[in-house]
C-alpha cells in the first residue's frame, strides 16, 4: 500500500495558489491464451507523485516516478515554477477558484496483489472447458486482466483521501465460419469491481458465459447482413449505456461544452423523449454501489451525481472546479486522472439511462420490421452529437418476433434527434464496466441502461 507521507506536505503549499498533491500506484495484470497457447503473460506496476498548482487561472504540473520526501518537494517546486512561468507569459488572471468543502476519506479496503499464476490458471481451466464444449469453432481466445488504482491525495482546500479502486475481468472470444467460409466472431466480458481472486473464486459464471458466447456464435454462422438505412431498433442495456456515455455524456462534459458542443445552447430545453432520464452516478445508484464508485475526485471534491437529462429536459453538465466557476455551478467531482503523471480532466463516472416501465417482450412485439441490437465493441461521438457504435451481436425483428442473427454492423445518429424518437424503455437495466474511455488519457468508466426502442441509422448492404 502507498505511504500517506504526502499528507504532511499540506503545510508547505505555496500561498496564493491552489495546490493538489497526489501519490498514485497503478497495477495491471494480463494473461491471454489463443487456441490454448499462452501468448501474453505480463504485469506492470507504476508508482509516482504529482503536483498541480494553479496561479492566476493557469496551471503548472509536474510528476516523477519516485515517491520520496525529496521527490515530493521537487514536484511541488517544479509545479509552482511551471505555473509561475505560464502566469507570467499569459497574464490572464482569472482569480481564485471558489473554495470547496474540506473533508477526509480514509482507506476503507486494501487491494492485495494477486499472484500471476491465478490469472493463468483461470484461463487454462476455462480454455479446457471451451475445448470440451465448443465444437465447430475455428478460434478461441481467453483474456484475464485486472487494473487497480490506489491514490493518496491532499489539497490546499483541505481534502485528504486514500482510495483504492480494483477491477478485474475475463474475456471470451470465439470464432467460427459461415457456410461460405466467412469468418464470424463473438466476444463477451465478465467481471467488475474487485480483485481477480475474489471476482473469480469460482468459474461457474464464466462457464455459463462461455455457453452463451458459443450459442450466439453458432447463430451467427447463419447471420444475415443488415440493410443500410434508417430503422426502428431495440438497443440492449449495453448499447443504451454506450448511448448514454458516447452520444450524450461527452457532449455534456463541461470542457466540451466550452469547446462548442451541441449541448451548449440546449440547457433546460427538451432534448429527448420524456421517457428518457440520464444521470452520471458518482458512487451509488438505485441503493447499490455503482460498478466503479468514485467518492472523491482528483481535485479533492466530494463526488456527487450529475443529473444530465430529466424526463427529456437537459438539466446540467459534468464539472471540474474550473468549469463550475465558469458556469456558476457546483463542481460534480468529475475531475479524474489515470496515472500519477496525468493531470485531472473532466471524465464520466457511471453514466446510465434510467429504467422505464416497459417489458422487453412487449417492445419486441411492437416492431414489424427492425433489429434487436445486443452487443457492441466500440463507440465514438462528436461535438455535434453525431455518434456511431460498432454492433457485434443482434437479431432481426420481423412481425414482432426475433429472427436471424446479424453480421457485425455500425449504427449512427444524432443524439438529441434520435433520443426524441424513444417511445419505449424497459424496466430492467444492465451495467458494464470493462472498457476504457479515451480522452487524452484512458479512464475506466461504468455505463448502463435499460432496453430502449428508438429509430436510428443502421449500416450495411
Amino acid at each position: 500500500m502507498l505511504s500517506e507521507q504526502i499528507l504532511s506536505f499540506a503545510d508547505s503549499f505555496a500561498d496564493g495558489a491552489e495546490t493538489e498533491l497526489r501519490a498514485q500506484h497503478n497495477e495491471t495484470r494480463r494473461a491471454s491464451f489463443l487456441c490454448g497457447q499462452l501468448i501474453s503473460n505480463s504485469s506492470s506496476d507504476y508508482t509516482g507523485v504529482s503536483a498541480r498548482v494553479r496561479r492566476g487561472g493557469v496551471y503548472g504540473f509536474s510528476a516523477t516516478g519516485e515517491y520520496t520526501t525529496e521527490s515530493v518537494q521537487r514536484v511541488l517546486a517544479a509545479a509552482n515554477s511551471n505555473a509561475g512561468m505560464l502566469e507570467d507569459r499569459v497574464q490572464i488572471n482569472k482569480g481564485a477558484l471558489p473554495p470547496v468543502s474540506r473533508g477526509k476519506r480514509a482507506l476503507t479496503e486494501t487491494a492485495s496483489s494477486v499472484p500471476q499464476r491465478l490469472y493463468l490458471d483461470a484461463c487454462r481451466e476455462l480454455d479446457q472447458y471451451l475445448v470440451r464444449t465448443c465444437t465447430g469453432i475455428t478460434s478461441r481466445t481467453i483474456v484475464a486482466t485486472s487494473d487497480t488504482v490506489e491514490k493518496v491525495l491532499v489539497t490546499s482546500d483541505g481534502y485528504q483521501a486514500h482510495l483504492v479502486t480494483p477491477r478485474s475481468y475475463l474475456y471470451i472470444f470465439l470464432s467460427a465460419e459461415t457456410g461460405d467460409g466467412t469468418p464470424v466472431e463473438v466476444f463477451q466480458a465478465l467481471g467488475g469491481y474487485g480483485t481477480f481472486d475474489l471476482n473469480f473464486a469460482s468459474l461457474d459464471e464464466a462457464r455459463q458465459l462461455a455457453d452463451q458466447v458459443y450459442e450466439e456464435l453458432m447463430k451467427k454462422t447463419q447471420a444475415v447482413y443488415t440493410e443500410a438505412g434508417p430503422k426502428t431498433v431495440i438497443l440492449s442495456g449495453k448499447l443504451a449505456g454506450m448511448l448514454a456515455h458516447e452520444a450524450v455524456g461527452h457532449t455534456v462534459e463541461a470542457d466540451l461544452v466550452l469547446g462548442g458542443s451541441v449541448a451548449g445552447p440546449m440547457l433546460n430545453q427538451q432534448v429527448a423523449s420524456e421517457l428518457v432520464s440520464l444521470t452520471d452516478f458518482a458512487h451509488t445508484a438505485f441503493g447499490q454501489p455503482t460498478p466503479l464508485p468514485v467518492y472523491v475526485d482528483d481535485e479533492g471534491v466530494a463526488a456527487r451525481d450529475a443529473i444530465l437529462i430529466q424526463e427529456g429536459i437537459l438539466k446540467g453538465y459534468m464539472h471540474n472546479r474550473e468549469s463550475a466557476r465558469h458556469f456558476g455551478a457546483q463542481p460534480t467531482g468529475s475531475a479524474r486522472a489515470w496515472m500519477y503523471s496525468d493531470e485531472p480532466l473532466i471524465r464520466m463516472r457511471n453514466t446510465a439511462i434510467l429504467p422505464g416501465k416497459d417489458k422487453l417482450e412487449d417492445m419486441i412485439a411492437s416492431i414489424d420490421d427492425g433489429y434487436y441490437l445486443v452487443d457492441t465493441n466500440n463507440g465514438q461521438a462528436d461535438m455535434t452529437g453525431e455518434f456511431m457504435f460498432g454492433v457485434t451481436a443482434g437479431y432481426e425483428i420481423k412481425k414482432g418476433k426475433l429472427g436471424r442473427a446479424l453480421h457485425d454492423t455500425t449504427i449512427s445518429g444524432v443524439a438529441f434527434d434520435m433520443l426524441k424518437s424513444v417511445d419505449m424503455v424497459s424496466d430492467q437495466m444492465e451495467w458494464v464496466s470493462s472498457g476504457f474511455c479515451g480522452k487524452k488519457q484512458p479512464m475506466p468508466v461504468g455505463l448502463g441502461g435499460p432496453h430502449v426502442k428508438c429509430r436510428l441509422m443502421v449500416g450495411g448492404r
Partner: protein
C-alpha cells in the same frame, strides 16, 4: 546513481542468476515538457520525469514479462524475481526465442534538449495565425511537447542497444463554429525535430484548418448509392491500420482466421499499390530501431505492386506458423508509394462519391466488413467537391477496397510517422437518411 546500462545490467544478472536461459532487461528515462492550450488559451505547463525498467525472462521455455517504474537496485532485483515467478506460472513453449547476438549499437537522433522559449513562441504564433487566418476555428485542445528518451537494453545473448532520442510533437483538436452551429471536431498530429518552421506549416495542419472551416453547414446524404470513397492521408492511415489488424497481424495469422492467410506472393490489391512499413525512412521521426527479440529493424514492403509480400508478425508467430517474421515491429511508420496523378485530376475523375476526412466506425470483423460514419466529409459529384456532409454512412469490405483502387494522388502528407497520399476506392455503399 546508476547509469541506465548499470540498471539494465542489475536486472539482467538477477534474471540469469535466477535460472533464466534467455533474458532481456531494459532501463529508460524520459523527460517530457508539454504546453497545453484549452479553448485557444494557454492553460497548463507540465514537466514529467519518468523512469521505467522492463524484464523478459524465459526459464525452461516458460516466459514472463514485467514492467515497473521503481528503479533502485533493490527494486530492480525484486522486479526481476517477480518476472521469474510469472515465467514459472507459464506454459513451456519453445517458440519464444531471442535473436542471435549482434554487436552493441548506439542510436542518437533528434533534438535532445528542448528549446523551451522557442517552443512557447511557436505555440503563440500558431494560435495567432489561426485567429487571424481561420477565424471560425476554435481550438478545443492543443498539446505541444518535447520528449527526450534515453534507454539501454541488454540481452542475455550479449546484444545491447542504447538510444538517446528527442522529438517535438504538436496535437490539435478543433472545430469550426458560427453562432450555435458547429462542425465535427477534427484532430491534427505531427511529430517533428526542428522549430525552424512555423507549426502551421507542418503536416496537414493548415489544410485541415481550411477543411474544417468549410464544414459548419452540412447536408445529410439522401438515400443509398454505390460510389467512390476518397480518403485524405490522415484517414487513409486509419483504414490501412484496420487492414493490417484484420488481415496481417499476429492474432489472425496465428489462429488462421485471416482472409489473407494463404495469399503470400499473390495479388491482394491493385497493381498500383505499394505499402511499406518503414521506421528507417528519412521522413519517419523516432521510428523503431530494434525489436523486442533483439533484431535490428529494417524497412519492408508489406504489399508491393499489389502483391502480398509479408505479414506483420512477430518472431514468435513466425516460429509457430513457419512463416517469415516481419523485419520490424513498429506500430506505425506507414509509407504508401504516391500515384502519378495530382489530387485535382483524381477528383475530376470521380462521378459520385465522398471525400472522407475521418472514419468513425466499428472495428471491422475478421471478414473485413466495415461500416461507419464518414466524418469531416464532402460530397463529390461529377468531378467536383460539393457540400459538406453529415449523417452519412459508408460500408464496404477492406479486402475488396484494396482491389478496387481508383487512383492514388501524387501529393503526399508527411506527419512524422507516415508518408501517405490521398487514395480513391470504388464500390463502396454510401447511405443516408
Amino acid at each position: 546513481m546508476e547509469t541506465l546500462v548499470q540498471k539494465a545490467g542489475i536486472g539482467l544478472e538477477t534474471l540469469k542468476e535466477g535460472g533464466a536461459q534467455q533474458a532481456v532487461c531494459s532501463a529508460s528515462r524520459e523527460v517530457e515538457r508539454e504546453i497545453n492550450v484549452a479553448f485557444g488559451e494557454f492553460s497548463l505547463y507540465r514537466t514529467l520525469f519518468k523512469d521505467s525498467v522492463g524484464f523478459m525472462a524465459i526459464r525452461d521455455q516458460k516466459r514472463g514479462v514485467l514492467s515497473q517504474n521503481k528503479v533502485s537496485p533493490e527494486d530492480i532485483r525484486e522486479g526481476a524475481l517477480r518476472c521469474l515467478e510469472a515465467a514459472d506460472a507459464a506454459d513451456a513453449d519453445d517458440a519464444w526465442q531471442l535473436a542471435p547476438p549482434l554487436p552493441g549499437q548506439l542510436f542518437e537522433d533528434g533534438p535532445l534538449v528542448c528549446d523551451e522559449e522557442k517552443l512557447f513562441d511557436r505555440c503563440q504564433e500558431l494560435l495567432d495565425q489561426i485567429k487571424a487566418d481561420y477565424p471560425l476555428i476554435l481550438i478545443e485542445e492543443m498539446y505541444v511537447s518535447h520528449t527526450m528518451r534515453e534507454s539501454a537494453v541488454l540481452y542475455s545473448t550479449g546484444s545491447s542497444f542504447q538510444s538517446r532520442r528527442g522529438a517535438y510533437s504538436v496535437s490539435l483538436m478543433f472545430s469550426a463554429q458560427e453562432g450555435d452551429k458547429t462542425s465535427s471536431f477534427f484532430g491534427s498530429d505531427v511529430t517533428f525535430t526542428s522549430l525552424d518552421l512555423p507549426l502551421i506549416r507542418l503536416g496537414s495542419i493548415e489544410a485541415d484548418l481550411a477543411m474544417v472551416s468549410r464544414q459548419i453547414h452540412t447536408s445529410p446524404t439522401e438515400g443509398k448509392f454505390t460510389g467512390t470513397l476518397l480518403f485524405t492521408p490522415g484517414c487513409l492511415g486509419s483504414i490501412l491500420y484496420a487492414c493490417l489488424s484484420t488481415f496481417a497481424s499476429d492474432s489472425v495469422i496465428l489462429d488462421g482466421t485471416s482472409l489473407w492467410r494463404d495469399k503470400l506472393g499473390q495479388a491482394v490489391a491493385d497493381p498500383g499499390f505499394t505499402f511499406a512499413l518503414a521506421p528507417l525512412h528519412p521522413d519517419v521521426i523516432a521510428g523503431e530501431r530494434y525489436t523486442a527479440e533483439g533484431y535490428l529493424s529494417e524497412d519492408f514492403n508489406l504489399i508491393e505492386d499489389g502483391v502480398l509480400k509479408h505479414f506483420r508478425i512477430s518472431d514468435y508467430t513466425a516460429r509457430k506458423t513457419g512463416l517469415d517474421r516481419a523485419p520490424n515491429s513498429d506500430s506505425w511508420s506507414f509509407i504508401v508509394k504516391p500515384g502519378d496523378q495530382p489530387l485535382d485530376k483524381l477528383i475530376q475523375g470521380i462521378e459520385r462519391g465522398v471525400l472522407v476526412g475521418r472514419f468513425s466506425g466499428g472495428n471491422p470483423g475478421t471478414n473485413g466488413e466495415f461500416s461507419g460514419v464518414a466524418k469531416n466529409a464532402f460530397l463529390i459529384e461529377k468531378g467536383q467537391i460539393k457540400e459538406a456532409l453529415s449523417e452519412t454512412m459508408i460500408n464496404g469490405n477492406l479486402a475488396d477496397l484494396l482491389v478496387n483502387i481508383r487512383g492514388i494522388s501524387s501529393e503526399v502528407v508527411k506527419d512524422g510517422s507516415s508518408v501517405l497520399p490521398w487514395m480513391a476506392f470504388d464500390g463502396a455503399i454510401i447511405s443516408g437518411s
